[in-house]
């Protein structure tokens, strides 16, 4: 059974204080690793898809990386508007079901 574990559960940063979120996964034949952002009361918003170990993707202050066992979401010089829950999900062989982690709640203080 596919499993996704995210850490830490919650992270509090000062504005400008860079950090990383971790997503460890177990899946038999990774097809894709997805990062989403979820604001309170809203649906998950797609950020990145990574397909193979060594791949990296960037968007503004966010950079996602992938190894054979985990993915990191690096946040550089975060701003208060980056505060949200960040969700990691994986897809394996077969149909396009996503297995989600429980998320990391990020709070960036001014």
């Amino acid at each position: 059974e596919d499993q996704v574990t995210q850490s830490p559960e919650a992270l509090r940063l000062q504005e400008g204080e860079s950090s990383s979120l971790n997503c460890s996964y177990t899946v038999s034949g990774l097809r894709g690793l997805f990062w989403y952002r979820q604001d309170p009361g809203k649906g998950p918003e797609f950020l990145f898809t990574l397909y193979s170990a060594g791949e990296e993707k960037e968007k503004e202050r966010l950079k996602a990386t992938l190894t054979k066992k985990e993915s990191f979401l690096h946040i550089t010089a975060p701003k208060p508007e980056d505060s949200a829950t960040y969700l990691c999900a994986v897809s394996g062989p077969g149909y396009s079901t996503l297995t989600f982690g429980k998320g990391t709640m990020l709070l960036v203080s001014p």
Partner: protein, 114 residues
């Protein structure tokens, strides 16, 4: 120009009632999904439809019955509601049922069963 929309946004009802949640996507996607997010914020797949055909049913109680009248719509009907059904239900869609396709989520429907 909302991509994936759901109605209603909030639903409060009594135990034993029957209710429906509607979902529509205007992205031209072939595949749609229902996910449940429980009180611990854990998102879990319930159903997936591809071109109006059910392709995934993740051991959901048969009180839950999805219906897809066309590719752009996927509705969720729930019979005999129970307290444990209280959660946020998200609809999503993707271009196809391929394992690398990005899923786009709706805003969610918060169901509260009293």
């Amino acid at each position: 120009d909302t991509a994936v929309s759901q109605t209603p946004k909030y639903l409060v009802t009594q135990m034993g009632n029957d209710k429906s949640i509607k979902c529509e996507q205007n992205l031209g996607h072939d595949t749609m999904y229902w996910y449940k997010q429980d009180s611990k914020k854990f998102l879990k797949i319930m159903f997936s439809y591809n071109n109006k055909e059910l392709i995934i049913n993740e051991t959901v109680p048969n009180r839950f019955s999805p219906k897809s009248p066309d590719k752009a719509h996927l509705n969720l009907h729930i019979n005999s509601l129970e307290l444990g059904d209280s959660a946020v239900y998200f609809c999503a869609s993707s271009q196809s049922s391929g394992t690398t396709d990005t899923q786009y989520f709706g805003p969610g429907t918060r169901l509260t069963v009293l």
